[in-house]
């Protein structure tokens, strides 16, 4: 807590034949944050481009497998990966099986598409024949009309007008009969001598002709019966093909799922191996490991490499040389609060982790601003519901549940202190004060709270600067020792006269000296550390710049402190808002209907207050954390610890 996990820099040298085994052992433990090969000097020059190339291959296979599963209606589920991953060998095996399965699927799906299309076409033919049925003449006669040429077929609805515009050279008649989807069934007629023109125009309008094979003979009625029979037969074949496709899906579902898991694993391995250093058949796997995990990693690596591995552990390079990743280790209570910190930035390895501080102060400040026993309990219950993971669709918000619960509890405690329940101010006695009745005391208390929080910020800055062995930041920074003392001195200069102790001139002298030390911070530090020259800028420029820096520091002390007035102001606003809801409810008429409406207004008003005001208060709290508190000590320029891991897979008996 407060301090990120201690890291060691680990270099693993292994022979190229063992690299996949070693990499899998490293990945399976999930404790090593890899360094990029580009940072490894000579080792980064020959890094395995083959692995970089394979990354896109695995990604392509992954996409193909997922598309195939989607076509077959196979859901993605966890699968057992038989045996160890074999990134090099898997490429060929997966490609071969994938091609074979895809061929089978293509054959069946193309057959399904063709049959569906045929059935649709025969359906349309049947409809056209139904129109001709009353004629009771042979279709053979229709095909051999002496003077009139007739074509039946479907074409895209959008092409019909253009088709008619194109037929400007011949007399014709086109009768649209029936619309199916975006196509329309048409009968087109023209004189026999114009048949070639009509035919070419229809073809270019994408007509799909409904040509009847010669075996269909007889009247339209007879042929229609035969066509209907054909539709039945093709529908049966379609059903059989779909069943075959379904069986195929069932047969290959397991294999595809395993393939997907395997390819994902291979993909992750390739991504990792592209980051390894390589020279003369030896791979260098370099990265950062939490120091307490190093023995476990060493044991696992040496076990799989059979002794053909060199394992070196050292302390990480100092700041400025390489960025050491940050692993935060907060307990289950504070872990969800890490999101509040990481939204601002990841703590640097040599910084303080402000998560616990944020966890406590966030809930406290939220409670002060949104003090209401009823609304707080609602929020707390909502938090408990989220934490319980009882509603599956809200499972991903389980972490936020802790935040809701903490803020809700804090809100209810302050609600009890303010004597407020769902905005009703006279239901319970106030254990401390009622915001609307004692505004000055509330605002002063808020500023007092702010002073405490800001002092915590000063302390956090001092600890961080001391950890970083930064003398200037420790002693002469506006948030360092001199800054803290100046803040207290200025506080004393304001408070002592107000409390009736008169003007402490000696304290004013101390404040001037401290301000001077802040101004002279840089040359003083350079003097202490023996650096020359003492001034890095001309004297005039230095004086002007450092004067305004100190002036800005004094102003920021004041503004940072006064910023906490909003704690009390929002508490007052909450009471005011609740009062508005009650006034609105009170304006409704009497009688049973009025009573029901009043209840509705009160419930809706409170829900709106919990939702909107809760959101605004949360934003204000975050603002106080980020700008007033974090500004004192937190840079957030760290890199999160992201260990090499494999995707979540279950492995078979010989698995990882």
């Amino acid at each position: 807590m407060f301090i990120p996990a201690e890291m060691s820099e680990v270099d693993i040298f292994c022979y190229q034949d063992d690299v996949e085994e070693v990499a899998q052992a490293v990945a399976s433990l999930g404790v090593m944050h890899l360094m990029d090969a580009n940072t490894l000097g000579k080792w980064g020059e020959d890094t395995g481009t083959a692995w970089s190339g394979r990354i896109s291959t695995y990604a392509a296979y992954e996409a193909r497998i997922r598309q195939l599963m989607e076509r077959l209606g196979i859901a993605e589920e966890s699968a057992v990966c038989e045996g160890r991953l074999d990134p090099r060998g898997d490429v060929a095996r997966v490609a071969e099986r994938l091609d074979a399965i895809q061929d089978q699927v293509n054959q069946l799906t193309e057959k399904v598409a063709l049959l569906r299309r045929d059935i649709d076409r025969w359906g349309l033919t049947s409809r056209s024949l139904a129109i001709l049925e009353p004629l009771s003449i042979s279709l053979a006669d229709l095909r051999t009309l002496e003077h009139v040429h007739m074509v039946a077929g479907t074409l895209p609805q959008e092409n019909l007008a253009r088709l008619e515009a194109s037929l400007f050279r011949i007399p014709y008649n086109i009768i649209p009969l029936y619309r199916q989807g975006d196509r329309v069934l048409v009968f087109a007629f023209c004189a026999q001598e114009h048949a070639p023109i009509l035919e070419r125009a229809l073809e270019s309008a994408f007509l799909d002709p409904l040509a009847l094979p010669d075996e269909y003979a007889g009247t339209a009625h007879d042929v229609r019966a035969q066509v209907e029979e054909r539709i039945v037969l093709e529908s049966q074949e379609l059903e059989t093909t779909q069943v075959a496709l379904q069986h195929l899906a069932e047969d290959v579902a397991g294999e595809l799922r395993e393939m997907l898991v395997r390819v994902r694993g291979d993909h992750a391995m390739a991504e990792a191996m592209a980051h390894f250093g390589y020279r003369d058949q030896v791979y260098l796997i370099a990265g950062y490991v939490p120091t307490d995990e190093v023995p476990r990693l060493r044991e696992a690596v040496e076990a799989v490499a059979g002794g053909r591995v060199t394992f070196e552990e050292s302390a990480p390079y100092g700041p400025g040389q390489r960025t050491v990743p940050t692993l935060l280790r907060n307990g289950p209570l504070f872990r969800p609060m890490e999101a509040l910190v990481s939204t601002y930035g990841v703590p640097g390895y040599d910084e303080i982790d402000p998560t616990p501080l944020v966890g406590v102060t966030f809930a406290l400040m939220f409670g002060v601003m949104f003090g209401d026993l009823g609304s707080g309990l609602v929020l707390a219950l909502l938090g408990a519901l989220l934490m319980s993971r009882w509603v599956p669709s809200l499972e991903r918000l389980a972490g936020a549940g802790v935040l809701f619960a903490a803020c809700g509890l804090s809100s209810s405690i302050f609600g009890a202190l303010y004597g407020s329940v769902f905005g009703i101010e006279d239901l319970i006695p106030a254990l401390w004060l009622r915001p609307l009745d004692d505004i000055p005391r509330l605002l002063l208390a808020s500023v007092g709270f702010g002073v405490v929080v800001l002092n915590l910020g000063f302390v956090a800055h001092l600890v961080t600067a001391a950890r970083q062995k930064a003398l200037l930041e420790t002693l002469f920074d506006k948030n360092g020792v001199a800054g803290l003392l100046l803040y207290w001195s200025l506080g004393g200069l304001v408070l002592l006269p107000v409390l009736g102790y008169g003007m402490p001139w000696w304290l004013a002298g101390v404040a001037v000296v401290l301000a001077g030390s802040l101004m002279a911070g840089e040359p003083l530090t350079r003097r202490i550390t023996g650096q020359k020259p003492l001034l890095t800028a001309p004297l005039g420029e230095f004086l002007v710049q450092s004067f305004f820096e100190v002036f800005e520091a004094v102003v920021s002390y004041l503004s940072n402190t006064l910023s906490y007035v909003r704690l009390g102001a929002f508490a007052v606003a909450h009471a005011g808002l609740s009062m508005v809801v009650f006034i609105l409810a009170g304006m409704l008429g009497g009688g049973p209907a009025g009573a029901v409406l009043r209840v509705i207004i009160l419930v809706l008003g409170n829900l709106a207050i919990i939702g909107f005001e809760g959101l605004i208060v949360a934003i204000q709290t975050l603002r106080l954390e980020y700008y007033e508190l974090f500004g004192k000590f937190f840079k957030g320029a760290g890199v999160p610890f992201r260990p090499l891991t494999l995707p979540p897979i279950e492995c078979g008996p010989e698995g990882l």
């Binding site: 293509n106 515009a165 194109s166 023109i197 270019s204």
Partner: protein
């Protein structure tokens, strides 16, 4: 633009976005080749020399993937250049919002369409999927089609089914009977083109206010040009009947319609057609006088392309917070890319600088 150039009093956010987009485009436009660079390119020693010179210009990023290759093929270089142009088009539209962004995305899709046609050609001619992949323009932007699945299809019908769920599937399905009948991809490519350019025109029509005018001038003029050129090509190169020509072109564009296409199909001269569309003073077709139809068409194409480029140059110099600047750049970039490809092809076959200059769309600036 959802919001911006559509009104002269834009919201602050829209104005900021448009200012950002303009700043980005001005940065990108600075990478276009200068006259001096063009002169150097045309005088460069052969294909290799031209390539080395291009690597010192704004095309360095495009050619970066080829660094280290001893002799990159012309085809590979061309695909990298097209990819760069597609990337620039995407970047130019990335900062605008709403219907304006839809126009940029719709226009960008012509790169995707080129790749889709390449896949169809590859599958139709039985090429191996890796061979087809090597022919594709390497587009980095978000794919709208399942390329891996498409590349692994072995039949044209299978390919069509794999486009299910995209806006390409209906025109493709409509072209199936013609494909099965003729066993050529002509109908499929026509169906794709007609559908695509209709979509672009619709995207332009959805723009509002002051955004629509420059988009119409630049993009719908191009669609007009295409429609006219298609009609001439179908008549002169393919010998299609007037009915087929009407059916294989766009039904109605900004300045063309079935009547005009029908007149072209029946033998109207380019001078008459161009005068009807744009007026005879805007496009000078006097060099076409007396030429046979087969010789006339390439010159007509070049002249209309130059007219289009002129519109883009004007638009790029126009109102600095409008769509015109952005689209003008996109078109100039693409036309320059076409010219660079032509110049490289000319270099590869040993043409003189003067001979290459004749086939370029850009004139003396």
């Amino acid at each position: 633009m959802a919001g911006m150039a559509g009104a002269f009093l834009p919201s602050p956010m829209a104005a900021a976005r448009m200012a950002g987009a303009n700043a980005r485009v001005r940065g990108l436009a600075a990478r276009l080749l200068s006259d001096a660079q063009w002169d150097d390119l045309l005088r460069a020693e052969g294909f290799r020399g031209a390539l080395e010179l291009l690597a010192t210009t704004g095309y360095a990023e495009a050619l970066a993937p080829l660094v280290g290759e001893a002799n990159p093929s012309l085809r590979r270089v061309e695909r990298q250049l097209w990819a760069a142009s597609a990337r620039n088009c995407w970047r130019a539209g990335a900062l605008v919002q709403g219907t304006a962004r839809s126009v940029f995305r719709a226009w960008w899709q012509h790169w995707e369409l080129e790749n889709l046609k390449t896949v169809f050609r590859g599958v139709h001619h039985g090429l191996d999927h890796q061979a087809v992949r090597d022919l594709l323009i390497p587009l980095e932007q978000r794919p709208g089609l399942p390329w891996d699945a498409l590349l692994h299809e072995s039949t044209v019908l299978g390919l069509i089914e794999r486009t299910d769920g995209t806006h390409y599937v209906n025109p493709l399905r409509n072209a199936i009977p013609a494909y099965l009948r003729d066993e050529t991809l002509f109908a499929i490519e026509v169906a794709l083109d007609v559908r695509y350019y209709r979509d672009v025109a619709q995207a332009v029509q959805r723009l509002s206010g002051a955004d629509r005018a420059p988009a119409q001038l630049l993009l719908e003029t191009y669609i007009d040009i295409l429609n006219v050129l298609w009609a001439y090509r179908y008549r002169i190169y393919y010998g299609l009947s007037p009915e087929e020509i009407v059916n294989y072109t766009l039904w109605r564009t900004w300045h063309t319609d079935a009547d005009l296409v029908r007149d072209i199909a029946l033998g109207a001269s380019p001078q008459d057609v161009v005068a009807r569309i744009w007026g005879d003073w805007r496009v000078d077709l006097s060099p076409l006088e007396g030429l046979a139809e087969g010789q006339m068409l390439p010159l007509l194409e070049k002249t209309l392309e130059r007219y289009w480029r002129g519109l883009a140059v004007k638009a790029k110099r126009g109102f600095p917070f409008g769509m015109g600047v952005l689209l003008g750049y996109v078109i100039l970039d693409e036309l320059e890319c076409r010219d660079v490809v032509r110049a490289l092809e000319g270099k590869a076959i040993g043409w003189s600088p003067e001979r290459i200059r004749q086939v370029l769309v850009r004139g003396e600036e």
